[in-house]
């Protein structure tokens, strides 16, 4: 480790930057539109992501209408259906989940939770949002060009993605690839900020191991994203050239409808490797922030320290590392060298071990706790149920030979919706309810929250559980209609209709959520600055909601980890991170808790 001696004003570590040095907005435009305040950027990211997410939600209704009631809706043609599935998948994975977890929660929570005034590079942070918005607009534009958006499936596999047998293979696919490239550039700008802020801008006393797991999850996910998105970028650039210039990176010799194309010699599998080298870490880019947030929700609302904090951190780091050597488990039946299957099946099942450990530690946090079944807690429990369900079906699909009959069936659809659709979205809801009083300064409506939770949780479970069994039966995914087969019973049609009705209901229930959020933001009861009696720094800000600069004139100093709940001898059942041991109110009515005898130095 090289020691750098600061010699110029510019070289001072960011934690030392005095408040006067911060950028200050002077007008409405610089304060709320081209804002450099991470909290405002977070809200911009979240609104954009949720808005585009609603588009994806509507697309899923249209898909379910077609699957549940085939031959009923004339306006859903096969082209349209394949365009719906593609746009739905792409929006949900990239433009909603990635953007909301990292751009939304990352921006809001990282500076507040580590005790920083803002991100380290606020200007770059602002650029990041505007490029993201541009990417979203380009994506939306692709829906209005001749031929419509691409219908190649969210995996965009060549050759079909750029051939005329696929809907949207003209301007649609080009705009899709441009949008992805923009997203990646924008994300990289934001990602640099998150990583550098966590590494360098923590407040005094906030050692790495005193950070809340939310920050750990977002931090590691960001590193994964910085390393994984380049693969998608490379694939997207090369595919654009195949489409626009007629190169043959991924395109072999092809006879398309009786005519030999000009392409020759390219390798479709190369794209798949690039795609999944991005695509698998992407799963964890979505999952790790969810893991982190759910840990904090469980600890806070069960009034108990997160169980096995160190193991939780190590598991996040190990899962992040392993996620780069499992990608080809998406390709067991892709035609790649079949002997790769041995390696990737093994690494994939190994990753289940640290993941399972995280589940155990979550439920051990509930054990011997003091569980308040608040709305965020309910969502956290909903996450555990759906994540465990979706996680164990991952053990089916990760095991090469079990994947052979199940791949590309509804089982896969059910698996990934459960594990990286429903589970992370339940966390997002839980997190929004949890931090809503901090963001808006007001409380949401409890009854509406209860209704929203139970309809969403039970409904989503009822949608995706049966789909596993349709997959086991052999019903393929990405089929516009099944029509007649020799092996699918009539009852499957009824089941599909049932699933569609539930899906529409769950979709409509989200209106309750939107109404609750918007109404409560203006008319809700004024919230206590720390309504959940939580320990982390974002709840200890002088203003509620926190002002620009987050912590007033002086940054908080951290004396303890983020999970001092129900500490023996303390009067309250939580001790905020910025309270020193000598000043903790104790049960005897005085101040101070004993110093621990053993003390392992951090450095």
């Amino acid at each position: 480790m090289a020691y750098f001696i600061p010699t110029a004003a510019e070289d001072v570590a960011p934690a030392e930057v005095a408040e006067v040095d911060l950028y200050h907005p002077h007008s409405f435009v610089t304060k709320y539109v081209f804002s450099q305040d991470a909290k405002v950027i977070a809200i911009q990211y979240s609104f954009t992501a949720i808005a585009i997410g609603l588009v994806a939600l509507v697309l899923s209704w249209l898909m379910r209408l077609q699957l549940g009631f085939p031959d009923t809706f004339a306006f859903i043609s096969a082209e349209a259906y394949y365009q719906f599935i593609t746009m739905h998948g792409m929006i949900m994975v990239i433009y909603l989940l990635t953007a909301l977890f990292l751009g939304g929660f990352g921006n809001y929570l990282i500076p507040l939770m580590v005790g920083a005034r803002d991100m380290v590079f606020p200007y770059v942070n602002m650029l990041s949002y505007w490029i993201y918005l541009l990417a979203v607009l380009v994506l939306l534009a692709s829906m209005f060009v001749p031929g419509g958006p691409t219908g190649a499936g969210w995996t965009l596999y060549p050759p079909q993605a750029i051939l005329s047998g696929t809907p949207g293979s003209g301007a649609g696919i080009i705009l899709m690839l441009v949008s992805l490239a923009l997203f990646i550039v924008g994300f990289t700008m934001g990602g640099l900020n998150y990583v550098v802020t966590v590494l360098q801008a923590r407040t005094r006393g906030m050692s790495l191991m005193r950070m809340p797991l939310t920050v750990w999850g977002i931090f590691v996910a960001t590193i994964l994203a910085l390393l994984a998105f380049p693969a998608l970028f490379v694939g997207a650039v090369m595919m654009s050239l195949d489409k626009i210039l007629g190169t043959s990176f991924f395109m072999p010799a092809i006879v398309e409808f009786g005519e030999l194309s000009d392409y020759d010699g390219g390798s479709p599998l190369l794209f798949q490797h690039l795609f999944w080298f991005f695509g698998h870490p992407e799963v964890y880019i979505v999952a790790l922030p969810g893991f982190g947030i759910v840990s904090d929700l469980l600890a806070t609302h069960a009034r108990r320290n997160i169980f096995g904090y160190r193991m939780m951190v190590w598991a996040i780091v190990i899962i992040g590392g392993l996620s780069f050597i499992v990608w080809a488990h998406h390709m067991y039946v892709s035609g790649m060298n079949p002997y790769f299957g041995f390696f990737f099946a093994t690494t994939t099942l190994i990753i289940a071990v640290p993941t399972a450990l995280k589940v155990y530690n979550w439920i051990l946090t509930l054990w011997k706790g003091n569980i308040h079944l608040t709305i965020p807690m309910l969502f956290a429990i909903g996450f555990i149920v759906t994540f465990v369900n979706g996680g164990i079906t991952g053990l089916f699909l990760g095991n090469a030979v079990v994947d052979v009959p199940l791949s590309d069936t509804m089982f896969v659809v059910a698996h990934f919706h459960m594990v990286m659709g429903v589970a992370p979205i339940l966390v997002i809801f839980g997190a929004i309810y949890h931090w809503f009083p901090k963001i808006t300064g007001r409380m949401f409506n409890q009854t509406l929250g209860q209704i929203h939770f139970w309809v969403t949780f039970l409904g989503a479970y009822a949608i995706f559980l049966p789909l596993h069994y349709l997959g086991l039966l052999g019903v393929p995914r990405r089929y516009y209609e099944m029509s007649d087969t020799l092996f699918i019973p009539e009852s499957a049609v009824t089941l599909n209709a049932f699933v569609s009705v539930v899906a529409l209901t769950v979709g409509v229930a989200q209106v309750i959520f939107l109404f609750n959020m918007i109404w409560s933001a203006y008319k809700g009861k004024k919230a206590d600055p720390n309504p959940w009696r939580a320990t982390t720094l974002e709840w200890q800000t002088p203003e509620n909601p926190p002002a620009h600069g987050n912590f007033g004139p002086e940054l908080p100093v951290v004396y303890r980890w983020a999970y001092d709940y129900s500490v023996p001898g303390a009067k309250e059942d939580f001790i905020p991170q910025n309270v020193p041991q000598e000043e903790v109110p104790n049960t005897e009515g005085g101040l101070g808790l004993p110093m621990p005898a053993a003390h392992q130095p951090a450095e």
């Binding site: 599998l269 096995g308 892709s334 054990w367 003091n370 164990i392 095991n399 009959p405 791949s407």
Partner: protein, 291 residues
């Protein structure tokens, strides 16, 4: 309390649905019973974990719910417990992985007595080529595909002359005869899947992929394309018929060899020089819409 009961209902409902719902895999018609067995092993191991974890959650929700004066226990970590759980999980994972790898080993090792069958996919139809009397498929190339030679068989390869061409969506296989299915595509990715056979593989243009199986009962089964291949993907179907040996051989005899087909094409060319490219209904319909 209501919340705990509802979560309990989710667990019970899942188990009930698993055992009593009418949707389960179709009866197997190939040698890949081991695949089904591995799935069953996986269901048991993961099912036990699923039930145990969620019942524990329900127990905690009831036993440790907030009541007046209750305080949670402060316990930063319990390394011993965590290592035990890690160890047990590792055992469970090994229990699924080990049979999985063994069966995968069988899946990728084609037996010597397997006969070859080529499946040729294009948007959105199937065709088949059998090796003929010499038992060897002639070489082929996408670039020499013409209307007369839709399989792109190399006309200079002597092994190709007796290859039997089946230009129909229906394929017959011989009962109890191991088959190595060679998969070719001439346009985009496809996937040749028969749910009763449990085995599938993508077909990649520019490459020949394969898998093997032994049909174990007679019958007629659906062939479905299992890799998104464009707007007609869902209509890309076929049938596979598993026959006793006699019936199989008479089916083979109905089809021309490559040499015969070329001869016939040459004759037709001389009488009727202008041929219109024949296209599948699904293909024409879909093309008309996309253009």
């Amino acid at each position: 309390m209501i919340a705990a009961i509802l979560v309990l209902l989710v667990v019970v409902g899942t188990v009930v649905f698993h055992f009593w719902s009418p949707w389960w895999w179709t009866e197997i018609a190939s040698n890949w019973g081991y695949v089904d067995d591995t799935i069953i092993v996986t269901f048991w191991i993961t099912g036990v974990v699923f039930i145990a974890v969620l019942l524990f959650v329900v127990y905690c929700m009831v036993r440790y719910r907030h009541r007046e004066g209750q305080k949670a226990e402060y316990e930063p970590e319990n390394a011993k417990l965590e290592w035990w759980l890690t160890g047990l999980t590792t055992l469970g994972v090994a229990g699924m992985l080990t049979p999985g790898l063994f069966v995968w080993g069988q899946f990728v090792t084609v037996p010597d007595d397997a006969v070859e069958v080529e499946v040729l996919a294009q948007q959105w139809t199937w065709a088949y080529r059998l090796p003929g009397e010499d038992g060897i498929l002639g070489t082929s190339d996408t670039k020499i595909i013409t209307f007369e030679n839709p399989f792109g068989v190399n006309p200079d390869d002597p092994h190709g002359q007796d290859d039997v061409l089946v230009e129909s969506d229906e394929l017959h296989l011989e009962l109890d005869q191991p088959v190595k299915v060679l998969l070719r595509s001439i346009d985009v990715l496809h996937n040749f899947y028969v749910p009763q056979f449990r085995a599938k593989m993508d077909m990649v243009p520019g490459a020949i992929t394969y898998y093997w199986l032994t049909p174990t009962r007679t019958g007629t089964f659906d062939i479905l394309c299992f890799e998104l291949c464009g707007v007609g993907h869902h209509a890309m179907r076929g049938l596979v018929v598993v026959d006793e040996t006699g019936a199989y051989e008479s089916w083979v005899d109905e089809h021309p060899t490559f040499a015969e087909a070329m001869e016939e094409a040459r004759n037709e060319m001389s009488t009727e020089p202008k041929l219109v490219l024949k296209q599948d209904d699904a293909a024409t319909g879909a093309r008309a819409v996309t253009q």
